[in-house]
């Protein structure tokens, strides 16, 4: 059972960190906006070359960029919050306190989600103003896509923590790289049919490919098929269970091997 006081304490820490280091807001607003502007201008240039037929491609690329950023922020919110406790040598203090692993992950997820919502809302506003992209016009399907991204971001975040617990500081790089490693398979910026057949098959095992295919379908005037939604949600649930189990196993193994104090000391 999650205790509100524990979640409040853990969350409070993140708010204090941001209040003390406003430069971190660059990560939430500035860098994603720069990326959006660069891609926006590139795609507008390409659209000019191919004419009005490129309009849908243009919208889909920018939409994908914003949704991908949302996934990335959630994953980073979970993984980097944990790494910050490692770097601050605070991990032993946290787990010597009455904090369960579930409460700890929940606090990082809540904070990561809040960060992702702020970042995405800002990007949607910038995209609307600068490129006349109205992502919200997708309506209710957008909510389903976003929920799927939140859940998958949580799963990736938990896998990142599990890797650091299992392999120590050497796995820290993976916590940053995991989303990028998955990106080519996730059909974020291109449809599945342009991928080689074996890769497309692998992509269908990721809930992300259904999310981004769904988004492109909506931008092309179609709908997000209920079956795709079902498969995506089912895969997401499966990944959530598997990542929870892997984190739980890594945490127990770390307790057996004494890795938590070692991570704290190195």
């Amino acid at each position: 059972m999650m205790r509100p006081c524990v979640l409040e304490g853990l969350m409070l820490r993140f708010f204090f960190v941001y209040r003390r280091s406003p430069v971190r807001l660059l990560d939430v607003f500035f860098w994603p906006t720069m990326e959006l502007l660069v891609w926006g201008f590139v795609t507008r240039y390409l659209q000019g070359l191919v004419g009005s037929s490129g309009e849908k491609v243009f919208l889909a690329l920018l939409g994908a960029l914003i949704l991908w950023d949302l996934l990335y922020r959630v994953q980073q919110g979970v993984a980097v919050s944990f790494l910050e406790d490692v770097w601050a040598k605070n991990l032993v203090n946290i787990f010597a306190a009455p904090v369960s692993l579930g409460e700890y992950v929940a606090s990082t997820f809540l904070f990561g989600s809040l960060r992702a919502i702020c970042s995405s809302a800002f990007l949607v506003a910038v995209a609307s103003f600068a490129f006349e992209l109205d992502l919200l016009s997708m309506g209710l399907p957008l909510l389903f896509l976003v929920l799927n991204l939140f859940v998958f971001g949580l799963s990736l975040g938990m896998v990142s923590i599990a890797l650091v617990l299992r392999f120590g500081h050497s796995a820290e790089l993976l916590a940053w790289a995991i989303p990028a490693l998955l990106q080519p398979l996730a059909a974020v910026f291109y449809p599945l049919e342009v991928m080689p057949h074996p890769l497309a098959l692998a992509a269908r095992l990721l809930p992300l490919s259904y999310v981004f295919e769904g988004m492109r379908s909506i931008f092309s005037g179609g709908t997000f098929e209920p079956l795709s939604l079902l498969v995506s949600s089912g895969l997401n649930a499966l990944f959530l269970v598997l990542s929870s189990l892997s984190l739980s196993w890594s945490f127990e193994t770390a307790r057996v091997k004494g890795s938590i104090p070692k991570l704290n000391a190195d």
């Binding site: 524990v6 304490g9 853990l10 204090f16 960190v17 601050a88 203090n93 010597a96 009455p98």
Partner: protein, 241 residues
């Protein structure tokens, strides 16, 4: 209050804590002594559940500490000279976070109270990362007391302190033990600190508990004049009787 029964730990097939058993009564201040690698810190971490014991059990107030971890740990606390807190937060912010985590009601007032008790009020608005090691020890102590624990576990609390600061900390601990009936288990290399603070001593060597008794009886038991002599004799090349 605390009952440790047959606690052992193996790392990669090597036994680092070997069937250690002892109990702590309410209000007792007990020193846990031993050379580096004796297994003292591992023992503390096992009590806290950060390291999983290979065998044995820990009971707190008659209840299994591992089974009721979340509930019982809110009545226990821990501090170490070797842990830190987020360095870009102020002392007050860090303590407030831990007060909330431990479920302290009127957390802000508790933080101010503790800062005063530990003589650290002047550090409240300083960033934790800017503190000297002596100042950090005071702040760590405040964190350890944030829930006014019934049992306080301390790992080398005076390791980075000069003699004057060390004396202040040991007086404070003694005062807390007598005024609040707080039970304390302290690992230390500082023999004078242990002699001045503790009622009883647990002596560990190569993972085993080789002595559990009052400080006053150590001289007779090991034919030494004081703890320091015992340490040198037992762990500095000589053998304990």
């Amino acid at each position: 209050m605390l009952e440790v029964k047959g606690l052992s730990k193996d790392f990669d097939g090597k036994r680092v804590v070997d069937r250690v058993s002892f109990s702590l009564e309410r209000g007792e201040v007990v020193g846990l002594l031993g050379p580096n690698g004796a297994g003292k810190t591992t023992l503390l971490y096992m009590i806290l559940g950060i390291v999983e014991p290979s065998e044995g059990s820990v009971q707190f107030d008659g209840r299994d500490l591992f089974r009721h971890r979340g509930e019982l740990l809110s009545r226990i606390n821990f501090f170490s000279s070797y842990t830190q807190m987020p360095f870009n937060l102020t002392v007050r912010e860090n303590l407030l976070v831990f007060a909330k985590i431990y479920g302290v009601k009127r957390a802000r007032e508790r933080v101010e109270e503790l800062l005063e008790v530990a003589g650290a009020s002047h550090l409240a608005d300083r960033k934790t990362g800017e503190l000297s090691s002596g100042e950090m020890t005071r702040v760590n102590l405040c964190k350890g007391l944030v829930n006014w624990p019934e049992l306080l576990l301390m790992d080398e609390p005076t390791a980075s302190l000069d003699p004057v600061a060390s004396l202040e900390v040991q007086r404070l601990l003694r005062r807390l033990a007598s005024q609040r009936g707080m039970t304390m288990l302290i690992t230390s290399h500082n023999m004078r600190h242990v002699e001045a603070t503790c009622d009883r001593v647990l002596l560990m060597r190569r993972g085993s508990l080789i002595y559990d008794g009052p400080i006053g009886e150590i001289g007779r038991r090991f034919s030494v004049g004081n703890l320091e002599e015992l340490f040198v004799k037992s762990f500095g090349g000589g053998e304990a009787a």
